[in-house]
Amino acid sequence: MKTTLRIKLLYLTLFLLLLNACATTPSAKTSNRELLWPPLPLETRIQWVMELNDYQDVGIGKGFWQRVGEFVFGEEESRIRKPYGVYHDDHDRLFVVDVGASLIHVMDREKNEYYTIGDHKKNTLRTPIAVTEDEKENLYLTDAGTGVIYRYDLVKRELKQFGSFKLERPTGIAYNRVNKLLYVADTAVHQVVVFSLDGMERMRIGSRGEKPGQFNYPTDLFVNARGELLVTDALNARIQIFSSAGVLLRTVGTVGDAPGFFDKPKGVAVDSEGHIYVCESLFDTVQIFDEKGRFLLNFGTTGSEEGELRMPSGIFIDSNDYIYVADTYNKRVQVFKYLNHKSTKGIKAE
């Protein structure tokens, strides 16, 4: 369409858009299948909530002027391309690290706003992998391709390098509220590096090897409510759990092709009752273990429908036990909920 024609049509549709501007925000994609795990008649533990391909799926509407702008100038590309890390904070903000698009999607439901961190045309970020947040509304994200950790001030909306160091290949990152330290997995040197928030390196955990406490390409991290650190020890096919000081507490899992075993584990997270969730990317499923490492359940099968996964990677569980899974090769994030013992009713998708 030629631009002049567009401008003419703009006047015509302005009227229609005016009417449409007050329409209700689009509802999230829901399912009419019962997506419960374990399947009925067993007691439901995990329920599917929604999938999101784009920020509009969480109910963030496009403003009137944004729609006008898009009509005239063309739509901005906001679709998730290849997600890895996910994080949801207490201000109802969902962060999705999109490795494929080299940016972070920020979906702020409190303020009904969507924006991105990193400009893929300018290549600000090369290979962003994971993201975490401290108490002062600073985001910390890792860029595996450049070895840099960035701090993003969510209030000022500024991206800066964190510290003045470069790591080999930082991937997983997690902030520990108990001791106020930032843990970063440096995959290529097989260590977890610990920083204080002033950018100084404080400690390194681990070395290369297969013994307990050693790593072989560690990737994702998660810090639970007690301040314990969970590390995905990817090529040793196990999750290792350390105290916040770096003392090994226990390991979970070994290699194998049966349920409860790992082949290529990626994201790790813990719910409000201490259950450990691990994304098993080659089996297209999320496996759940208890604190002692006993296998409890897995949910998700291979596919692209709701409740199906393709090589899931990142996972995060917020304080309300919503489980966010980066469904990487389905280009989306799926949300599930752990129904803890205190709540027996399921929830409806919003």
Binding site: L42, G145, D257, P259, K264, G300
Partner: protein, 587 residues
């Protein structure tokens, strides 16, 4: 200081990709895929290298061992929800899903590590002999879909069926195993088609050595991709051409001259540059040296920057689609609209030259080596030709038919009979035309002596310089076209036409119109602009073709008034108060 040196070294690694030599063993234990603590991998800088006795651990990172189903999940003991686990013998095979954008089978195993965490995810170029094209990939919108599909965006597509048809441009899959290329069951192409993760003797775990210095001509690519014309002896990108300096390098790089299988900045067709035509004419700041004057292959880059040009480097719309319907509907121009990089050669270059560097010479209207293998549109302006056999057919792709008016052009002569469809202007049914499409009708007396008997047809490029020119309308010679003019020479026209014959009435043999031409062209009003001046050729003549008038007479209405008349012998124009003037018709 030492730490900083190491840190600096570490900085370079992600940018330059393989800056450390990869161990090239043929057993997996001697390759970077040995992740066990006995693996040599890349020499670590900080940690010592171990030796482990447990050799069987080498395989477990990709081949997980079979485990009998033990307790089962505690939360669902009675019902087995774990049917997703595939049997041991095919732990990575998933034949049910055919959508090409989902990684399948063995490719999933590769991608489970090569995602930026355990291993490099943006599979950076491991060899790029044409130094440093932009280091990081730039992406185009995923909504654009082309014929081969867009798997993993900027990487060679995987997880799709290898589609073979006889006479097409892919090799018969029956012949591939003998070359070393294995397709997955169902003739699916996966990462394992080109890579063997156990054997690194060819570097990058390739099944065929594709390193230009060691095995020139990129044999891995051409094992499957049999581009038409690539084996032709005059296909310069394949053979390197006759240039002793540049040629061997171009020949060795083969497909890698323009293409990158992974993380290609030019996502469509996996080109080395995000702006497709910049792959051909490299901007100097990119570090490339193709067709930009640095090597002996023609400085096309300077041409594309001239005042009048086909804006291949991003001025116009770049959505060229290989299989577009012709004549073209969407305005765009790129190098590949006129040139086929797989077939183009040096024969007959430049167009029309009698003694080119590489014989045979090109004879109008036939294409030469540089225009070989390009699609075109025939003289009717409607029918597609694959390939075009005449040069004008390539121009007619865009300049013929109803789409030919792409933009309101700059100031140009306002013709009495205005026509933008070049196929109609050059039609052999017209009363007069420059013989681009049709053969010359008359006896050529107005031509220079050397052309009178030989020049029966001409090329578009005899007057135009389509890549770029300092002259409006992409003309290759100076050509004034407004009145008044101070020009006394029209090098464009008089490149072929004899100015003496046409404008010198004292010559023994001269045109019947010589006196009138002389008075119009050389001493018209006796004054100089702006008060007066000469009338340029274009004030009366229309160089392409005129349906109704002889001698290409098609008055410029800006000067000749709104209703000029010409009947082959007399003109009635508004320029002159006293009209008409008689001229005798001349051959």
């Amino acid at each position: 200081m030492f730490i900083q040196a190491i840190a600096l070294f570490a900085l370079l690694l992600p940018v330059t990709g393989e800056s450390r030599p990869a161990p090239r063993g043929s057993s997996i234990a001697d390759t970077p895929h040995n992740f066990s603590v006995s693996g040599i991998g890349y020499p670590d800088k900080r940690l010592p290298i171990y030796q482990s006795k447990k050799e069987e651990r080498v395989c477990v990172f990709c081949h997980s061992p079979h485990h009998a189903f033990s307790d089962g999940p505690l939360w669902s003991r009675e019902i087995d929800t774990n049917a997703l686990y595939t049997p041991y013998f095919s732990t990575t095979l998933n034949p049910k899903h055919l959508r090409p954008d989902q990684p399948l089978g063995a490719s999933r195993l590769c991608l489970s590590c090569h995602d930026g965490t355990i291993a490099i995810g943006k599979l950076t170029r491991s060899f790029s002999l044409d130094e440093a094209m932009p280091a990081a990939a730039t992406y185009t919108a995923p909504s654009i879909n082309i014929n081969l599909g867009r798997n993993l965006a900027d990487d060679h597509p995987i997880s799709f069926p290898y589609f073979y048809e006889p006479g097409g441009e892919l090799e018969d899959p029956e012949l591939l195993p003998a070359k070393g290329i294995r397709l997955s069951p169902g003739n699916f192409l996966e990462c394992t088609g080109c890579h063997n993760p156990h054997d690194n003797s060819n570097d990058n775990f390739l099944v065929i050595n594709n390193i230009p210095e060691e095995n020139p001509g990129t044999p891995l690519c051409i094992a499957c991709h049999r581009k038409a014309g690539w084996d032709d002896k005059d296909s310069v990108h394949s053979t390197g051409g006759g240039d002793a300096f540049n040629g061997p390098l171009v020949k060795a790089q083969g497909c890698a001259n323009c293409h990158l299988p992974h993380s290609a900045p030019g996502v469509v067709h996996l080109l080395k540059s995000a702006v497709p035509s910049a792959t051909c004419a490299n901007p100097v700041e990119s570090g490339g040296s193709c067709h930009n004057g640095l090597k002996n292959d023609g400085d096309i880059l300077s041409l594309t920057k001239k005042s009048y040009r086909h804006s291949v480097l991003g001025g116009a719309n770049d959505d060229h689609v290989e299989t577009e319907v012709l004549p073209a509907r969407v305005k765009h121009v790129e190098c590949v609209d006129c040139h086929n990089p797989h077939q183009s050669g040096a024969e007959g270059v430049p167009l029309g030259a009698g003694n080119p560097a590489v014989m045979p010479a090109s004879q109008a209207p036939a294409v030469n080596g540089a225009l070989r293998g390009v699609r075109g549109v025939d003289q009717s302006g409607t029918a597609e030709l694959t390939p075009a056999t005449a040069e004008y057919q390539i121009c007619f792709k865009c300049h013929a038919s109803t789409n030919a008016v792409f933009k309101a052009f700059i100031v140009h002569p306002l013709r009495q009979s205005e026509q933008f469809d070049q196929s109609l202007r050059f039609s052999s049914d017209n009363a007069s035309y420059h013989p681009v499409v049709g053969v010359r009708k008359k006896n050529g007396n107005s031509l220079l002596l050397k052309y009178t008997n030989s020049m029966k047809q001409i090329y578009c490029c005899d007057c135009h310089s389509p890549m770029g020119s300092d002259e409006a309308h992409l003309l290759r010679g100076r050509n004034w076209e407004t009145y008044p003019s101070i020009e006394v020479d029209y090098p464009l026209c008089f490149r072929c036409h004899d100015s003496e014959y046409l404008t010198n009435p004292t010559l023994g043999s001269h045109a019947p119109s010589a006196a009138f031409h002389k008075s119009h062209l050389f001493n018209h009003t006796g004054a100089n602009p702006p008060t007066g001046g000469n009338a340029p050729c274009s004030s009366c003549h229309d160089p392409h073709g005129v349906a109704n008038n002889l001698f290409l007479v098609n008055f410029d209405l800006r000067y000749a008034g709104s209703t000029p008349l010409y009947n082959g012998a007399t003109c009635t124009v508004a320029c002159h108060g006293a009209n008409p003037k008689n001229i005798n018709s001349y051959p």
